[in-house]
């Protein structure tokens, strides 16, 4: 789960990571009121989950209330690389002396959190990594030991920080690690990490990704929503407990098990089709779940044909077939379906589909045949 900048900063603040004061706003009036409370000059920042906000005109300094109104009016509703701005963050202006980069990544290969620190902040760290890899100090922290003060010193000296900020940056990194572990993040990134003109250090930006599997013990984080980031089908699927990812093609896909669904998308593409979605109905899906999944797929108006690719293990093909028949009763779909059922109770499942005599439903006996047929069906 990705957080907006201000959600990340509020999370940082809970763990003592210094951040500039600010307030979120969803309307122009709220934004102006927030600006007056914070004082001028202040910064109006678009809250979207995409980089390049500044270049797109989504970050503006306001000298007074009129300017705050002008900027908030321009930014709210603005489109930044396909993301509509639904919220702005009004923040006190910072007098920046230096810009650094700091992050902690959940390093899967090393099975340990990876710290990175660089004096080359404010720019794309992947570019820095490519052009000057030595400019980034890196260090793994043993998750059983946790972050120690010497970790902070090593990072700061190796990154080449000026002597007067070694201590405050080290202290900030310790707090950042606390936020990373306590909130169960997969990524925390501060770019830029700033030294202000009074030589104090502050996190001027926040990019935080939380582990969705840990939200059951973080009620506050689970309640955070970013409405603009979820599209209609993804929201609908989430409410129904289905794993759905919107893609940009026209062939609806339903399968069981993440790996098989990914593989199905690939095979459909190899036959020249474009999948409209990833939908994993999950293991052991009952008929109602299948019907509900069909409804989500069909609610995307781009869908011109639908492929069911099921290999039953815990999932029973007769349950899937019953769900499909029920979906046709309830939804009367107008697009062709191709159905491939293999695995547990496949004979019974195929019999149910055949006897229901559903309009516009073809069957297939292999995954490749199914993909080929659905690509053909989507063309007509």
């Amino acid at each position: 789960m990705d957080l907006l900048e201000y959600q990340g900063k509020q999370l940082f603040a809970r763990h003592g990571v210094p951040v500039p004061a600010g307030k979120p706003a969803t309307t122009v009036d709220e934004a102006v009121a927030a600006a007056q409370e914070i004082g001028f000059p202040c910064v109006v920042k678009a809250q979207v989950l995409i980089g390049g906000r500044g270049k797109a005109g989504g970050i503006k300094v306001a000298k007074d209330a009129d300017e705050a109104r002008e900027h908030a009016t321009a930014i709210l509703g603005m489109d930044i690389k396909g993301h509509t701005v639904h919220e702005v963050w009004i923040e006190e202006a910072s007098d920046i002396a230096e810009e650094y980069y700091a992050s902690i990544v959940f390093d899967r290969a090393a099975k340990a959190p990876l710290f990175m620190l660089s004096t080359q902040g404010g720019m794309d760290i992947e570019e820095v990594a490519e052009s000057d890899p030595t400019a980034i100090a890196r260090l793994h922290v043993d998750p059983l030991l946790g972050f120690q003060a010497f970790h902070g010193r090593r990072l700061a000296y190796e990154a080449g920080l000026p002597a007067d900020v070694i201590r405050p940056v080290g202290a900030l990194l310790a707090k950042l690690y606390e936020a990373f572990t306590a909130e169960e993040a997969m990524l925390v990134e501060v770019n830029p990490l700033t030294v202000l003109s009074d030589r104090s250090v502050k996190a001027l930006d926040a990019k935080v990704t939380l582990d969705g599997n840990s939200l059951f013990r973080h009620a506050d984080n689970a309640a955070l929503r970013n409405v603009g980031a979820e599209d209609e089908q993804e929201q609908m699927a989430k409410e129904r407990g289905l794993t759905y990812v919107k893609l940009d093609g026209d062939i609806g896909i339903l399968g069981n098990g993440a790996g098989l669904v990914m593989s199905t998308l690939d095979v459909v593409s190899q036959f020249g089709g474009k999948p409209a979605n990833f939908l994993d109905a999950g293991g052991g899906s009952k008929a109602e779940a299948i019907t509900s999944a069909v409804e989500v797929i069909l609610s995307d108006p781009k869908v011109k044909a639908v492929l069911f690719n099921i290999f039953g293990g815990i999932t029973r093909c007769d349950e899937v077939a019953n769900g499909l028949v029920e979906a046709f009763k309830q939804l009367n779909p107008q697009v062709p379906f191709v159905v491939r059922l293999d695995g547990t109770n496949d004979v019974e499942g195929r019999r149910i589909v055949a006897e229901a005599n559903l309009p516009n439903v073809q069957t297939a006996s292999t995954m490749n045949e199914a993909a080929e047929k659905v690509v053909e069906a989507a063309k007509s």
Binding site: F106, R108, A109, K111, A112, E126, D142, P143, L144, T181, E184, M186, D211, G212, N213, S214, F216, R217, T243, V245, L247, G255, N256, G257, A258, G259, L260, V261, M262, S263, L265, D266, V267, S269, Q270, P275, F278, D280, G283, F311, G312, G313, I314, T315, D342, G343, T344, T366, M367, N368
Partner: protein, 292 residues
């Protein structure tokens, strides 16, 4: 022979009294797996279809000599259950549970490595291990597989069944089928399992089925080149997955330039592993390699 589970497996199931736990435990038992006990705190003294239930793993191991654990408890309790099994002296822990927090997995992995280096953890979020004709621990539908010489290791459950079925239709059987799971910190990697297949005299061909996310396939490619003499056939799911989106498995995400299917296929092929572009093609290559 077979790897990880077999005729000497003595299984204890954590979460045996839950409905899913009971269902799959009995499936495993009916297949011929020696299920000796179960653990559910507070239900010690009961039994599930004749299988005795204990309050702790320590009691279960002491009373029934269990050497393998299957974890079926819900995500908030799964890490604890894995650690309890290891503490009680269990050597092989197979965790089926999906949805365990990644930081729990990190703690479990690192603690096992330092305090219980001989414990083998398979999963979490995996379908288990099947050694056809010998033992089934987990949720793999055993009816589709028979004994044979192809070892399969995979991050995905149903995709394993798909590939296994393609192989079975061409007459191949399996030494063992191992699901290592789709989470960010699997207890065992491709390398761990491939090393076991390399040493298993019954296995003549190794099939590895990977997917987007992480770098386990790339690491396996280097390992294979340096250490594996048996033929290996690969498959990678998620060639068309867009970056930044988690494709169902918590671990299946292309972030930035890392973890893409193209990079994994290139790494495997660059190290002499043939990669099927579809599950069907994996079976085609298997025929070419082993003959028919």
């Amino acid at each position: 022979m077979s790897i990880i589970v077999g005729k000497d497996t003595k299984l204890c199931v954590s979460g045996i009294t839950g409905s899913e736990g009971t269902f799959h435990t009995l499936n495993n038992k009916n297949y011929g797996t020696d299920v000796v006990s179960g653990v559910t705190p507070g239900k010690g003294g009961q039994d599930v279809d004749g299988i005795p239930v204990f309050n702790t793993f320590h009691n279960a191991v002491g009373e029934t000599g269990a050497n393998t654990a299957m974890i079926f408890v819900p995500p908030p309790f799964a890490a604890d259950s894995i650690l309890e099994a290891a503490d009680a002296g269990i050597e092989t822990v197979i965790c089926i549970t999906e949805g365990i927090p990644a930081h729990d997995e990190l703690r479990v992995y690192n603690f096992l490595k330092s305090a219980h280096p001989s414990v083998r953890l398979i999963g979490p979020n995996c379908p288990g291990v099947l050694s056809p004709g010998k033992a089934n621990v987990g949720i793999i539908p055993a009816a589709f597989f028979k004994e044979g010489n192809v070892g399969v290791v995979s991050r995905s459950g149903t995709l394993t069944y798909q590939i296994g079925n393609e192989l079975a239709q061409r007459g191949f059987g399996n030494s063992s089928i191992v699901g290592i799971g789709g989470d960010p910190v699997p207890g065992s990697s491709f390398i761990d399992v491939i090393a076991l297949f390399q040493d298993d005299p019954e296995t003549e061909l190794i099939v590895m089925s990977g997917e987007i996310g992480g770098s386990a396939e790339e690491e396996a490619a280097d390992y294979i080149k340096a250490n594996v003499t048996k033929p290996v056939v690969g498959y990678i799911a998620g060639v068309t997955a867009p970056p930044g989106k988690t494709m169902g498995h918590a671990g299946a995400i292309v972030s930035g330039s890392s973890g893409s299917a193209a990079a994994k296929i290139e790494a495997l092929e660059g190290n002499g592993v043939r990669v099927g572009r579809t599950p069907t093609e994996v079976a085609d290559i298997a025929i070419e390699v082993l003959g028919k």
